[in-house]
Amino acid sequence: MLDLLKEPVLAVQEFYLLAGRAIRNVFRSPHYTDDIALQMDTIGVGSLLIAALTGFFSGAVMALQMARALSSYGQMGKTGTLVSIVLVRELGPVLTAIMVAGRNSSGMASELGSMKVTEQIDAMRALGTDPIQKLVTPRLIATAVMLPLLTIIADFVGVFGGWVISYVFLHLDSRLYWSTSWRALEWNDITQGLLKPFVFAFAIALIGCFYGLRTTGGTQGVGRATTQAMVAANVMIFILDLLMTKVFVWQAS
């Protein structure tokens, strides 16, 4: 029984050690600003289209579903309220994080995993570079900066998607939609809408890098690490989302 538990406990310990070192390195030199900029481009600019599309279609679907439910209470004018609240609090952060995890957590695992199995990580250490400082910390910083920004864009495009449906198909007044959307939001919503992607970013970057750096077993191992990273990051996003939502609901009440 103890032998069965040994490996997962060791893996959790290694993950926290990696996380600790990566966060500590944010405040230690050298800072690889070129790598941070490159990762921001890959993670942020590279995920822009997918985040916007996800936001647009989830906003549009929300508007259709909510309008249908609200019309039975004669409250179809509240469509904007529901779309903006649900998007900013939940769907925007979670769906954007899932898209970025699918695209970047797996990408980080495969990139670092390939470097690991071809001894490039060892070469980096041999040539005077801390791989965590050079590879993990820039990815962590880039994800922590870009994911909240992507979420803001996805939220806005989502509310816009809801407006397209409301205006074109439901024939709601544009001014009513936008004013109810805007007035529905409180500071608590904005805070959790930005704090959630910031926390998700840590899970996405650290899980991707963790699985990449512990890759063994050649190209097959790289494939396995990629899949494990994506699954683990997605599961962690949902767990963290539940925990943070509980905290914000408790705090708001």
Partner: protein
């Protein structure tokens, strides 16, 4: 000159390395002196690569101590090890060139990233060009590793290992997977590096003929080729052979002793002599 009177460059003191239940190195002890060449023979999985990585501080021993340049590596943090590593060049088995960087950037990497190497920015490119010329790879600066053949990658990796002119160079199976002509070119480069720069050399290989060349040839810089020097004649230092079997050091000595050995495992390597 006696080897024992020379400074010790690398010392393994009862080193054991295990990965879970697999023992990679078992109670290995040896000492390499300045200017010496050591050829480490052994079958796949005998612990040769682990030995080199332990010498570089990339792998921590489970027991025993490793000393490089008189300093105990086992007691050092990763950051403290960077200083020691700047004195050790390493050629990895599969070259381990950074595939997202050009050959120029790969070779310049240690000059730019090793803190204890003080290379003026204006001197980086000339030193990279000079080292690439040394390994006969001039004109590949802008190429990426994926554009090079296996032998060229190995030469570029040698350039990266020696660009900082480290006093100790570790070569992990430099001829593995190469055709005999390219393998000979690579060993010629190793001997050239050893004799021109007077470096201490640790060569891990499965091929006895690599060790034979290292032990019995020297580089003639005037003619630009190898010439015989039986058992180090004409060179200050001789070559020591080591044989690893399943993590244990089963032989350490000169080429003559190696060839006289009756051990069936050792004679398997010696029979390949050319």
């Amino acid at each position: 000159m006696s080897q024992d009177s020379l400074p010790s460059i690398l010392r393994f003191d009862h080193v054991t390395v295990a990965f879970g239940s697999d023992v990679a190195l078992a109670d290995v002890s040896f000492e390499a002196f300045e200017g010496e060449s050591r050829v480490i023979l052994g079958a796949s999985g005998s612990g040769k690569t682990v030995l080199l990585k332990t010498a570089l501080g990339l792998v921590k021993p489970d027991s025993g101590e490793v000393f490089a340049f008189g300093q105990n590596l086992t007691a050092m943090s990763e950051r403290q090890l960077f200083d020691i590593r700047s004195k050790i060049g390493m050629l990895f088995q599969e070259s381990a060139l950074f595939d997202s960087l050009t050959i120029e950037e790969n070779v310049a990497y240690p000059l730019l990233n090793q803190k204890s190497i003080h290379c003026a920015p204006g001197q980086v490119l000339p030193r990279v060009e000079e080292t690439l010329e040394f390994v006969e790879l001039g004109g590949t600066l802008e190429k990426f590793p994926s554009e090079l053949s296996g032998g060229m990658k190995r030469r570029a990796a040698i350039a990266r290992a020696v660009v900082t002119e480290p006093p100790l160079v570790l070569y992990d199976s430099p001829t593995a997977g190469l055709d005999p002509i390219t393998a000979h070119t690579i060993i010629t480069l190793l001997i050239k590096e050893r004799d021109v720069k007077q470096t201490t050399t640790l060569l891990v290989t499965q091929r006895y003929q690599d060790g034979n060349l290292i032990a019995n040839f020297r580089y003639n810089s005037k003619q630009g080729c190898l010439e015989p020097a039986r058992n180090g004649a004409g060179r200050a230092m001789r070559t020591t052979f080591m044989v690893l079997r399943e993590g244990r050091l089963i032989f350490e000595g000169g080429q003559d002793e190696l060839e006289e050995s009756k051990d069936p495992y050792i004679s398997k390597f010696v029979k390949q002599r050319v």
